[in-house]
């Protein structure tokens, strides 16, 4: 069961990461990147690493996504034009 979970989580992470890289919209790729973080959290949890999972949860998916989302407003041209 664990093996299958790992396999499918990896598949999910891979596809999300792939789309995060390919996506033209940066906001979208940041959100998708958060998906990578979420998948990692699951995997870390499965791997019996709750500390790392918690860290990845608050940092990888929480704070760094927030920082990215706040940051990309000021580093992309299309957003600049809107305001």
């Amino acid at each position: 069961m664990i093996g299958i979970t790992i396999l499918f989580t990896f598949l999910a992470i891979l596809s999300v990461a792939f789309y995060a890289i390919l996506s033209k919209d940066i906001t979208q790729s940041v959100i998708l990147f958060m998906g990578v973080g979420l998948g990692s959290v699951v995997l870390f949890f499965i791997f019996q690493a709750p500390d790392v999972a918690l860290t990845e949860a608050v940092i990888g998916t929480g704070l760094s996504t927030a920082v990215f989302l706040l940051g990309i407003r000021h580093t992309s041209i299309d957003k600049e034009m809107e305001s």
């Binding site: 999972a53 860290t55 608050v58 940092i59 704070l63 920082v67």
Partner: protein
């Protein structure tokens, strides 16, 4: 058109190359030994009982590899300073955001703040007993502030307090290391009593929970500063283009 094609070609070649590289590395990595007889981790686990810390990861982070954590805290501190250097400036003025006072948002965010901060404190304080610790808890506290900022953009943090928390906790961490040198002649040693029988209790593990609390304060204040700078960047008055 031609250029575009070339560009795609470059991409295809590069991606093929990177996949070839990774596939070949993959082939190699199948040689990686997974069952080692005696890693440092095994020794650490066998020694961990002496530290009277229920969470072995915590004891590794704060004790066995304590200087790593000092370094890590320093890295965060440097990053914060760097971000402050970049995003704070005397020429920058922030515009007053027309902020619709929303009762629910206001009260809701403040209520949530308390809960989140409490959770953060819990995570920090129980770092040596359960998963979590100073880093995680500190970041949780920072996310509480993030929530607050999002709810009320005009809010201002008291920088002097944050700086105080940041500096003093950092200094305290180093001081603990140095005091330990004088007490038991080892830097960052566990000089407080930590009887093994206490394992699993809140007060156990000697300096380990203290260090994690200090780290929590430091990470919390630093992350809050980072969050504040990034949020404030939204409300810059001028957006000059050179």
């Amino acid at each position: 058109m031609n250029l575009k094609k070339e560009f795609r070609l470059k991409h295809i070649v590069l991606s093929l190359l990177s996949s070839a590289l990774m596939l070949s590395i993959l082939g190699l990595l199948s040689h990686v030994k997974t069952n080692l007889h005696k890693t440092v981790g095994d020794i650490v686990l066998s020694l961990n009982m002496q530290t009277a810390t229920a969470n072995a990861v915590t004891s590794v982070v704060t004790f066995f590899r304590g200087i790593d954590t000092v370094g890590e805290v320093t890295v965060l501190f440097l990053a914060t300073t760097g971000i402050a250097l970049m995003l704070s400036s005397t020429q920058r003025t922030y515009k007053k955001v027309v902020h619709q006072e929303s009762f629910i948002l206001d009260i809701g965010s403040k209520m949530l703040l308390n809960v989140i901060v409490l959770f953060g404190v819990y995570v920090i304080v129980h770092g040596h007993l359960s998963p979590g610790g100073g880093f995680q808890g500190g970041v949780v506290i920072a996310t509480a502030f993030l929530l607050l900022f999002l709810a009320n953009p005009n809010m201002k943090l008291k920088h002097s307090i944050l700086t105080l928390g940041e500096s003093l906790s950092g200094a305290a961490y180093v001081l603990i290391a140095i005091i330990s040198l004088f007490k038991i002649n080892i830097l960052l040693g566990n000089f407080l009593p930590h009887p093994v029988s206490q394992i699993g209790e809140l007060v156990s593990g000697g300096i380990i929970p203290i260090i994690y609390i200090i780290v929590g304060i430091k990470v919390g204040s630093e992350m809050s500063v980072i969050v504040e700078y990034f949020v404030k960047e939204d409300y810059l008055k001028e957006v000059p283009h050179a």
